[in-house]
Symmetry: C2
Subunit: 127 residues, 2 copies
DNA sequence: GCGGATAACGAAAACGGTTGTCAAAATCCG
DNA sequence: CGGATTTTGACAACCGTTTTCGTTATCCGC
């Protein structure tokens, strides 16, 4: 119910890419909000616990979050330049991951799959 | 040629799973080595820069390293319990990642794919 | 509305993994 | 054997994140 959690969710939703807690904090403050960094972290934690947002780790270990449209299992195609993300599906990848796991005697199999690239906009801006 | 870098490489090689810098440091110290934590970090950085070891991030952002046998592109099936890892390949996943990226107008496409599970040993120990 | 319990909030401190600093020790070279 | 160069490791700084704790807002029975 918290207003602040709603605020954070909306800030995330307005972005098309993955954003860090500190990014969102900076955005909200620059819009005049008096929200605290702790609250942003708490909201993101709650949202990711409830599965409402996706979280992944950048190469340098920072957590970044995204409010995805679909709530079923999916992966992301993420722009290395601007963070913009596209939700993607790959049924054969799901099957492959499960089968390669069971083939080696593993159980409770999960997987992480992320595809990275440079989006058309960023490529144009750089070219 | 540094002896210390060799020491770290060997400590990694003796393990079948992904290990953190602090893990390796603790191991080496307990074996009587007088190596410093900074040096372990430096060695791992150098080894991963040169592509001799693979690195990935745990859920909580910690970097873990592994000395893989093959030096060609591959992925890992990692035990959630003990960190033991198996090198796996999935040509169809490689193709899928590239094609889904180009389909959305992205270039310079790369990907991360990791499969997690509980290995037979850990399942037996827990059951 | 009022008053007290309860939950949310935010500033600041603590935390943990990682990196930077710098002087001491080891190695190299002439 | 010097002196230059590189490697090393104790320690401090860093940075993202979590914890702490006193304050503030929200609920709810009256
Ligand atoms: Zn882009
Ligand atoms: Zn999947
Ligand atoms: Zn295991
Ligand atoms: Zn691959």
């Amino acid at each position: 119910m918290s207003t602040r959690r709603e605020t954070v969710r909306q800030a995330l939703t307005e972005s098309s890419g993955f954003r860090s807690a500190q990014d969102l904090y900076a955005d909200l403050r620059s819009e005049g909000s008096k929200i605290g960094l702790t609250t942003v972290y708490r909201a993101l934690q709650a949202l990711s616990d409830s599965g409402e947002v996706d979280v992944l780790r950048t190469d340098d270990g920072e957590a970044v979050y995204r409010a995805c449209i679909t709530d079923s299992h999916h992966h992301h195609l993420v722009c290395r330049g601007c963070g913009k993300a596209v939700e993607i599906e790959g049924p054969m990848v799901e099957r492959w991951a499960d089968s390669v796991g069971t083939q080696h005697g593993f159980t409770d199999i999960t997987h992480t799959v992320e595809v990275f690239g440079t989006c058309a906009d960023c490529a144009a801006a750089k070219g």
